[in-house]
Subunit: 257 residues, 2 copies
């Protein structure tokens, strides 16, 4: 048996994307790595799973400490299949998702398949990190992010994370002055669709949109960090009841209802 | 202009499901209701959106205070289209999603398209509630839930909710002793797939699974409430940084990295 840590890696851009290959190349230097990733882009799939069609896992390659599978599913499906099939006897030490091509900061995390992969690790009580670079290009340069990726991976392998919390890490495009531990900014997408007329004359809507940061001056947010050249490191709780509202509802609902 | 409140309703079971029709019948008695719901079941779609295909909205019916549309998208798409097209000038007073056929308590909330619909309302800073009944049957009996649905809807219309928090409400099957304000239980799905051999001889995985409550004795959880005949009312924060871990990371990462 090897003493190397076991790391499971998925993403939402597909097993062939430069971002996941970059992450695998780095981590497989000191860990036994299992990759299970989609066979096509699954961006924007959030924590969606596949229930109406059969899933298939295809082994693409196997070397000493690196095994790569693809599936016809979402990132959540990939993680579920990995826990069911590869890690049935022993869970991995760490789940990584990414490195995503494009931002998963702020509200983007809600829709992100990359973040979905990390959430599934977190549900299984394995320390999990989602990595994303704010650059959608297929040939994006991930190299300058790797020292911080490496240090975060080694830190979490050593120190773990609280159950129910994962790290959502985003890197700015083109420069990196360091990192900041922060919270997600309050933001949303505005003017989200282009209207066009389809071939049959009916109106069609194509997703687009303008990203609005509702709190651009808040220095403790991920968007502020990224705008100022820092990687954002957000510890996200996957299951968070609003405790102050619980108290309020307990008082007011009894009277109101 | 009517003084009635404006309520947007979506779901993930489709516009034709008994659960959404039951909710619409109730709320349209005192509100102007706009329904935008999927044209097919979109259960398990979480907050997934459609980016690679055009979306279409079809008006199915229009009466005095009730307009119903279907779309070829997910619940998140339905909500995004409604905010873009129907509510471009003025937001609705309330977003409702459901009533879902099947539980969205505990970890199920992560995967739920019904909850996804409520989250999109919450992202848009409109008070939002997801309703679900722990009964998957198409012809499930929702009638005994309606007094509590009605009171929660009227309460939130009057008192609103904090920005960034929605209510995830689940009803037990068959009996209702009242409701409890609670947090989500820590649970997961185990043994998630059936293995079968496909027509081409390859192995296929079909989603199934056994639901495991990691804390069956915790009386403050949604699963405890549901198991004991109460509706569970969970105020969920959509954007929750783990503050204790932020402090720890700020201290330890500086030393470690």
């Amino acid at each position: 048996m090897s003493n190397k840590p076991v790391v499971f890696i998925t993403n939402d851009d597909g097993y062939f994307a430069k971002g996941i290959k970059t992450l695998v190349n780095l981590v497989s230097q000191y860990a036994k790595v299992f990759v299970v990733a989609p066979d096509q882009s699954r961006s924007g799939y959030s924590c969606a799973f596949t229930s109406k069609a059969p899933l298939r896992m295809t082994k693409l390659s196997e070397q000493d400490d690196l095994v790569v599978y693809s599936t016809n599913g979402t990132p959540t499906d990939c993680a579920k299949l990995a826990f069911f099939d590869l890690f049935a006897k022993e869970k991995p030490d760490l789940v990584l998702s990414g490195i995503n091509h494009g931002s998963n900061a702020s509200v983007n995390a809600i829709y992100s398949g990359t973040v979905g992969g990390a959430i599934e690790g977190c549900v299984n009580h394995v320390p999990s990190i989602a990595f994303s670079l704010c650059d959608l290009e297929k040939d994006a340069d991930f190299s300058y992010c790797l020292p911080i990726v490496d240090r975060l991976v080694r830190y979490v392998l050593k120190s773990h994370l609280p159950q129910g919390t994962f790290l959502n890490v985003n890197f700015p495009k083109g420069e990196l002055r360091g990192w900041k531990v922060c919270r997600q900014a309050d933001a949303y997408w505005s003017e989200e669709f282009d209207r066009k007329v389809g071939s049959d004359g009916s109106e069609e809507f194509f997703l687009t949109g303008r990203f609005i940061n509702r709190e651009p001056d808040s220095v403790d947010t991920d968007l502020w960090a990224l705008d100022h050249g820092y990687a954002s490191v957000v510890p996200v709780k996957i299951n968070s009841a609003d405790e102050s509202l619980m108290d309020k509802l307990n008082n007011e609902l009894i009277e109101e209802i």
